[in-house]
């Protein structure tokens, strides 16, 4: 079958060779772990524990009454030693529960198998997902139970698992597909059950032939699941682009995937759902790719949430040379860090340590109007003009050129031969336009 793809996009070096062949290694975290009360899109949680409390592994330690939110659980057993603001990968300090690990991993009483998928009702599955604190684990961390509860007027007919992993360097999802295919299928089946569907899709980029093979094998055992082979191109895993490729439908401007009857979930989100149902263990660990040319021993770690980045880099034996940039996530959309004393959160898919050479920023030169940004834009926008108006602070014009539709994938900045900061300026304009609109309301 021919690999499918979308219009536009770029072909950065994927640099996945560092870690794609390395099996996931489970990592223990001695000492302190940090649990920010906000690890998801939506309302922050309230701590349910106090300093001095003993907590167990899998115990809920923070929750919120808001619908769009997700509870947080302790990933180890031990003692709450502080509740204080701690540096968050987002760049600011966030109130966090600090737990001293006692190393015993005493499991909390609430962690019990939730029953058989065939006997569970959709409503029960949604509750399990919510109680387990499961969020989109590709990076955005949108609460999964919200995705699974579309408004009644939106009939969902496509559920897609995102195995594209189009960001360079990252291999966490790739390894999961090779090592836990049955959990991925199980999680997908659970989502299909919630939405009353008997067909599900898993999209995988062509550069992961081994994963395609394994997933096809397991999908064939179950039936009702189709593996969609995608062309290797960034941003193939962007939600809107993936939906278009799989369903042929375009999510309307300003709309949500549910508007075209589709929902997309990450590979790790599916395995988290499987774990939550099968063992009752909430989302307390995830796979993180630690890589980049500055890292001595690149690896994929199964790590407890709350573990400091420093612990992960130490497990990889530190650095070959001083890293110039530390990034949480991929190099295209990840967040640059100014410290490694930051905890792994639910959306931490990878940690990159890049050298000066990798991230060398050449000076901007004037736009030569080559139009490469226009060809690269997967949203069919004109980054050249949006950016020009954004830089002049002409928000009205930037909006006219659809700045708000930008998905911030960074393809325009990547291809620009003049090294102009296109997406960066568009992002600023986009946020200003949205803020302006909110103020008017």
């Amino acid at each position: 079958m021919k690999a499918l793809t979308f219009k536009g996009g770029i072909h950065p070096h994927d640099n996945k060779h560092h870690t794609e062949k390395i099996a996931i290694k489970s990592l223990k975290t001695p000492g302190k772990l940090f649990f920010p009360i906000q690890q998801h899109i939506g309302a922050p949680c309230e701590p349910l524990v106090a300093v001095g409390d003993e907590v167990k592994m899998g115990q809920k330690i923070a929750d919120s009454k808001a619908f769009v939110s997700a509870p947080i659980h302790s990933s180890v057993s031990g003692k709450v030693v502080a509740i204080e603001p701690v540096l968050h990968p987002g760049g600011s300090k966030v109130l966090s529960i600090v737990i001293e690990n006692d190393g015993k991993d005493t499991v909390h009483e609430s962690v019990v198998p939730k029953g058989d998928l065939s006997t569970l009702e959709p409503k029960q599955i949604i509750d399990i997902v919510r109680e387990a604190g499961i969020v989109g684990m590709g990076g955005a961390a949108f609460p999964t139970h919200v995705k699974l509860s579309p408004p009644p007027d939106k009939k969902i007919d496509y559920v897609i698992v995102n195995g594209a992993e189009c960001e360079p360097y990252l291999t966490a999802d790739h390894r999961m597909m090779l090592e836990s295919p049955e959990d991925i299928i199980y999680g997908l089946k659970a989502i299909m059950k919630v939405l009353g569907l008997n067909k599900g899709y898993i999209g995988i980029e062509e550069n992961k032939q081994d994963a395609i093979k394994v997933m096809k094998e397991y999908a064939a055992k179950e039936g009702g699941i189709e593996i969609v082979v995608l062309k290797t191109k960034y941003p193939q895993g962007a939600e809107k682009q993936l939906i278009k490729v799989v369903t042929g439908r375009e999510v309307p401007s300003g709309g949500l995937p549910a508007d075209v009857g589709a929902i997309v979930n990450n590979i790790s989100t599916c395995t988290a759902i499987a774990q939550a149902i099968k063992t009752g263990m909430p989302l307390i660990s995830r796979v993180v790719t630690v890589t980049g040319s500055a890292v001595k021993q690149p690896a994929n770690y199964l790590v407890r949430i709350g573990t400091s980045f420093r612990t992960l880099f130490e497990a990889s034996e530190g650095f070959n040379e001083d890293p110039a940039k530390i990034i949480m996530g991929g190099p295209m959309m990840g967040i640059a860090q100014f410290s490694i004393d930051v905890p792994v959160v639910k959306g931490t898919s990878g940690l990159l340590a890049l050298t000066k050479k990798d991230v060398a920023l050449k000076p901007e030169s004037p736009c030569i109007r080559c139009g490469k940004c226009v060809d690269a834009c997967p949203m069919n926008l004109l980054p050249i003009y949006i950016s020009a108006y954004a830089k002049k602070n002409d928000l009205e014009k930037a909006e006219e050129y659809n700045a708000v539709d930008c998905i911030e994938c960074g393809s325009c900045s990547y291809v620009c031969p003049s090294k102009r900061h296109l997406v960066q300026s568009i992002r600023v304009a986009k946020q200003a336009i949205i803020a302006q609109k909110r103020a008017k309301k």
Partner: protein, 327 residues
């Protein structure tokens, strides 16, 4: 573990290797085959004129930036590209001061007066050519046959030969016979330094498309439009035109692949580029068939250059998600 300060900036954190210089260098590489053909057919004088033009452009850029305390950008190769393109639009017989005037005009008046790289609203090389043609029409149209043994430094005193287009037009060159299609294709005909060898220009043009420096849209639509229109509106009635001669002669190949695709002065939208190509094709055909000049490629491109911003404005692509929300 970390001794230095980390760089914190907004994503993306990696960039492609391509730079303005690498793009411009690709254009220089693409122009090289035609330059070799020029040296072969018109002798060393063609190379000399080209060298003088390139040098003038680079010096003009350097002088302007120096005087205005701007960063010196002559190593980005863009002035070199302008220089080669201008030289390609001159006959090998021009007196050597003329490329100097042309080079300074192209860089200072057309490019730098309007803001420098990427800001010129017309193709600098073509605008300079138009300026030279208007000022010194005789020197600018002294075509010689290939292998004429031109003196290197002295301005050659030669009798102008007719270009194929002038013969097609049947005006001053009436009665002369057309060169063969093979001669046209190889470039063994009279004309400006770089326009005659269709073969070599095609090689360069395909290189640019292969390297994704340009898209196929402008050159293909431009050439196709000229072919179709010159065939339809033939001298002896509809559908009798000599389209093959029209497509292979004059500055069409050079113009379509290298001049009309100039980034700064052509549209960036896909649809806009197609309009640019078709528009230039129509104007070229009208000038060639009904205008006062035998050739119209330069003027057609210049006219479309002026329309480029407007074309961009009205050809904004339909954005992703511009669909009705399902009820």
């Amino acid at each position: 573990m970390i001794n230095n300060r980390l760089i914190v900036s907004s994503s993306p954190h990696v960039r492609s290797e391509e730079t303005v210089s690498s793009v411009m260098l690709d254009v220089v590489i693409a122009l090289t085959p035609a330059l070799i053909a020029a040296a072969y057919f018109f002798g060393f004088r063609a190379l000399l004129v080209t060298a003088v033009t390139v040098l003038s452009c680079v010096v003009a850029e350097y002088a302007w930036q120096k005087v205005n305390h701007q960063p010196i950008t002559i190593n980005d190769w863009s002035a070199v590209v302008t220089g080669i393109l201008l030289a390609f639009n001159l006959p090998a017989t021009v007196p050597l001061w003329m490329p100097v005037v042309g080079g300074f005009f192209a860089i200072i008046v057309v490019k730098q007066f309007f803001g420098g790289l990427g800001q010129n609203f017309m193709n600098p090389a073509l605008a300079a050519r138009a300026f030279l043609l208007a000022s010194w029409p005789v020197e600018m149209t002294k075509w010689v046959d290939p292998f004429s043994n031109l003196p290197l430094l002295k301005t050659p005193d030669v009798i102008s030969s007719a270009t194929p287009l002038a013969i097609l037009k049947g005006t001053e060159a009436a009665g002369q016979t057309m060169p063969s299609i093979t001669s046209l294709f190889l470039g063994n005909i009279g004309g400006t330094i770089g326009e005659t060898s269709v073969l070599m220009l095609l090689i360069g043009g395909l290189w640019l498309i292969y390297r994704k420096v340009i898209s196929w849209r402008i050159p293909v639509t431009f050439i196709a439009t000229v072919g179709v229109l010159t065939f339809i509106f033939g001298k002896d009635g509809f559908f009798t035109g000599n389209a093959i001669y029209h497509v292979l002669s004059g500055g069409l190949m050079l113009g379509a692949f290298f001049m009309a695709t100039d980034y700064a002065s052509s549209p960036v939208t896909p649809k806009g580029q197609i309009i640019m190509g078709i528009g230039a094709g129509i104007i070229t055909s009208v000038i060639r068939l009904y205008g006062g000049y035998p050739e119209g490629v330069s003027y057609s491109i210049l006219l479309m250059n002026i329309a480029a911003p407007l074309i961009d404005r009205y050809t904004t692509p339909v954005k992703f998600g511009e669909v009705k929300v399902r009820a």
